[in-house]
Amino acid sequence: MTTAKTKIGRRSFIKRSSLAGGGIMLSFNWLASCKMSPEEVSQLPEEWFKINGYLKIADNGQVTILSPNPEGGQNIKTSMPMIVADELDVDWKNVIVEQAPLDTNAFSFQFLGGSQSIRRGWEGLRMAGASAKAMLIAAAAKEWRVPSDEISTSAGILQHKASDRSATYGEMASAAATMKVPEEIQLKDIKDFTIIGTSQKNVDGHKIVTGQPLFGVDTFREGMLTAMIVHPPAFGLKLKSIDDSEAKKMPGIKDVFTIKVFNDGYEKAFFDTRTFNEVAVIVGNSTWEVMQAKKALKIECEPIESSTESRDRFGRKWEEHTPSGLESTTNHYAQMEALASNTATVKRKDGNPEAAFKNAERVIEATYTAPFLAHNCMEPMNFFADVTDEKAELIGPLQKPELTEQTLSARLGMPIENIDIQMTRLGGGYGRRSYAHWLVEAALISQKMKAPVKLVYSREDDMTDGIYRPSYRATYRAGVDKDNKLVAFHVRTGGIPQSPLHQNRFPAGTVENYLAEDWTIDSNLTVGSFRAPSSNFIACAEQSFLDEVAEAVGKDPIDFRLELLERAKNNPVGEENDYDPERYAGVLKLVKEKSGWENKEDGVSRGVAAYFCHNSYAAQVLDLKWENNKPIIDKVTCAVDCGIVVNPDAATNLAEGGIVDGIGNALYGEITFRDGVPDQNNFDTYRMIRMREAPKKIDVHFVESDVSPTGLGEPTFPPIFAAIANAMYKATGKRHYRQPFLKDRELLG
C-alpha cells in the first residue's frame, strides 16, 4: 500500500457544504432522462451525503462521482470516475457519473488537452476515493468502537470480522460525511485494483445512441434567441462597415450589429487567439431564419495594418507579429523554401556535425512539407449565454474552462464569482475548443440583447475562421560512414508561423554529431493547438526520413531504430534526451511481434513508424494493398506504452481513433489559400476520411506496465502519418514528401 499525504490535492478534499449530521439533498436530474421501472423507483435513494468534492453517497449505497474534466470523446467521463471508484472500493454497477461543474476550488485541473486528463488527474482521483473510504471506515470504527485498521472494505461493504459486524456504505454515509478529512491516506497496491484495468462502457452511451441532448448546441431555454456571426472573407482583412438594411427586414430577425471580441489594449492570454476581432452578428428567432439573413447582410472590409502585440503565456510575455497583406499557399511554400536555405537558430548541437558531414561516405537528404489543417469538429463552434448586469451563465463545449472564465471576466468586467460556466459534452475538440472566443462572443451578444442567446457557427464560418494547424517544412540530412554507420544527423525545420522542432527527441542522443535548428515565418493566418501539436508533422518527417536512411544503409527499419535506441540506452550522446530508450524500444519490439513483421503476406506493402510524445510511446505497422492507384489499408497493428491502462476497451477505441484520424489527415487533409481566402469551406471541398478508406482492421496492444498512466488522446496520431507514407513507398517505389499524400480531388467516390 502507498501512503499519500492528502495535502497535495488538499483543496479538493475540503468539505464545502455544512453537512452537520443531516447531509444534503441533491438534484435528481440524472434520472430525468431515463425511463424507470417501478422497482427502480422504489430503490431511489432518500438522501445523498457529500463526502468530498468528487463524490456523494446515498443512503441506499449508490455513489455519484463527479467527472471533473471536459469530455470530448476520450472517454474520461467514464475513466476518471473509475479511478475514484476503485480506491473507494465500490461496485461500478452502483456508480452514477455526473459532469462536474467548473469549480477551481474543488478541482485542480479542469482542462482538456495535451493528453493530460488521466495523467494529471491520477493522484487526485485516487485520493478522492481513498479519503472517502477512510472517512467511511472512521465512521464505522466510531460507531462499532473498534480500531479502524481492523475494518475491511469490499464492493461498498464495511466489515469488522472479529465482531462479525458489517454495514453498507449507504448506512454509514451520513456519519462519514461528518468525519474529519484524513491527513494521510493509504492508496491501494496496483495488484489490488478491481475496476482500473477492466473495460467499462461509456457512461453516456445510452444517451448518445438514443439522441438525447448532450451537446452545447442542444441547449434551449425559454425566450432564447439564435445568433450567428459574419466575419471578413479573407485573412488580412477587417470589417469596415456593414449594410444591414436588407438583413434586418428578413423574417424572424431581431437585430444586426457588430461586436469586438477583445477590447483594444487588452493583453491576450495564451488561448485568447481571435482571427477577426470585430465580427458582424445577426440575431433572430431560429437558425434557418438567421442563416437566410446572413446571406442578405452586406459587409465592407479593408486591409489590416501590420501590428505587434504583447501577449501573455502563463506569466511569460511574448510579442506576436501580424503582417498585413493577403497571403496565398503558393507564396507560403516559396517563402518556406527560401527561408529554409537561408537562416535558422541552432537549438542543439552535439559533436562536430559540419566536419562529420564533410567526412561522411554518403549524405542522404530529404525535405518534407505539410499544409495548414482545419480541426473540423463535427459539432460546429457554439455556446449558450445568458448575461445580465449581475451574472453570466454560459453553457457549452470548451476545453479550457478555467482560463476562458478569466478571459470572460476581464471582457465583461464581471467578477469570476458571478460567472457560471457549465461544460457540455464536446462534439469533438482536438485543440480547437481551447480557443473559446465564441464563448465571449455569445456573452457579448446576450448582454446586448438582454436575453438568453445561443451562438452557432455555420460549418463555413467554423472552417474559415482560422486557428489552424500551422504549415511546416523540414529538411533532414544523415551522414553515414563506409561501414554504413550513422555518424551525423541534421534537422532544419520551421513553419508558418511556428516551428515544430523538438531538438531533444529521438534520434537526438543516438548520433555523435547532431545539429537541430529552426526558423519561423510570420503570418496573419491564426494557428492553434491541433491534436499532438507540432508532433503531428515532425513525427512524419522524422520517421519517413529514418525509413529512407535505414534502406540506404541496408537495414531493416525496425532493427535500425532498435540499434539507435540501444546506443541511447548504453551510451547516450548529450544529457537532455526527452525519451526513455527502453520504453521506446519496448513498443517497437511489441509491434514487431504482434504484426508478424518477419512473416509478411504476399501482395501486402508494409510501413513502420514509432514516436514518443505527450508522455506516451506508440509504434505502428501499417499493411496496405495498392489498387486502382489508391491504398486499401488492410490492417494497422499498434503498440502503445502509456503506463497503467485504466479502461482498456475505451483506450483501444481512442488509439484506433488517432490512427484513423491520422491516416485521413495524411492522405487528404489540407486547407489552402488564395489572396487570403480559404479554398475550402465545407466538406464538399475539404476532404475527410470515410469508412471505406479506414483500415479494415486495427489491432491495438498495450505494454503491460505499473507506471502511473500517461495520456492517449494524442500519441497514436503522429506516427501513423509516417507508417502510411512508408507503406505507400513500398507499394509504389515513390517516397512521399508533401502532405497530403493523395492529391486527387475526388470527394465522395
Binding site: K35, D204, H206, V209, S286, E379, G657, M691, I698, L748
Partner: protein, 155 residues
C-alpha cells in the same frame, strides 16, 4: 409562413414555418428533437440523417414543404428506449467517442439493415460513405452493423 402537419415518430406535429425550412431545423429548433445533428448543411457529412419512409435521407436537404404525409423517423423515434438492434449493437461494441455523428450513423445503418439484413463489407462501406466520423470510429461502426445484422438474423 405556412402550417405543416407532419408525421414524426408516430405522432402528428404541426409547425408554422417558412416553406423552404429544411426538416433539420424544423426538428431541432421547432420540435426540440435535437438528436438529429447539424454538421455541414450541404448533405456531405450525414450528421442530420433521418428516415423518410424507409429511406435514410439528409434532413438538411429536405424542405418541410416537400414532406407531405410521408412518415419521418428520427433517432428519438427509432425505438422506445434504445432497444433497436442497431442501438444495442452500438452499445455492445461501445462505438462512440465524441458521439456527435453517431445518431446519423445509426439512422444510416438501420435503414441499410432494413433493406439488406446481411450486408457485405463493401455494401456497408457504400451505404455508410455519406456519414463522416471525425473521431475515426469507422472500424467499430462496421463491427456494430455486423453485430446488429447477426442479432436480427438470430431473432
Amino acid at each position: 409562413m405556412s402550417k405543416f402537419s407532419l408525421k414524426i415518430n408516430g405522432n402528428t406535429q404541426v409547425v408554422d414555418v417558412d416553406d423552404n425550412t429544411p426538416m433539420l431545423w424544423v426538428l431541432r429548433d421547432h420540435l426540440k428533437l435535437v438528436g438529429t445533428k447539424y454538421g455541414c448543411g450541404i448533405a456531405q457529412c450525414g450528421a442530420c440523417t433521418v428516415h423518410l419512409g424507409d429511406n435514410a435521407v439528409r434532413s438538411c436537404q429536405i424542405p418541410v414543404s416537400s414532406v407531405g404525409d410521408q412518415e419521418i423517423t428520427t433517432i428519438e423515434g427509432l425505438s422506445e428506449n434504445g432497444e433497436h438492434p442497431v442501438q444495442q449493437a452500438w452499445l455492445e461494441v461501445d462505438v462512440p467517442q465524441c458521439g456527435y455523428c453517431q445518431a446519423g450513423q445509426i439512422m444510416s445503418a438501420s435503414a441499410l439493415l432494413k433493406r439488406n439484413p446481411s450486408p457485405s463489407d463493401a455494401e456497408i462501406e457504400a451505404a455508410m460513405n455519406g456519414n463522416i466520423c471525425r473521431c475515426g470510429t469507422y472500424t467499430r461502426i462496421k463491427k456494430a452493423i455486423k453485430t446488429a445484422a447477426t442479432a436480427t438474423e438470430n431473432a
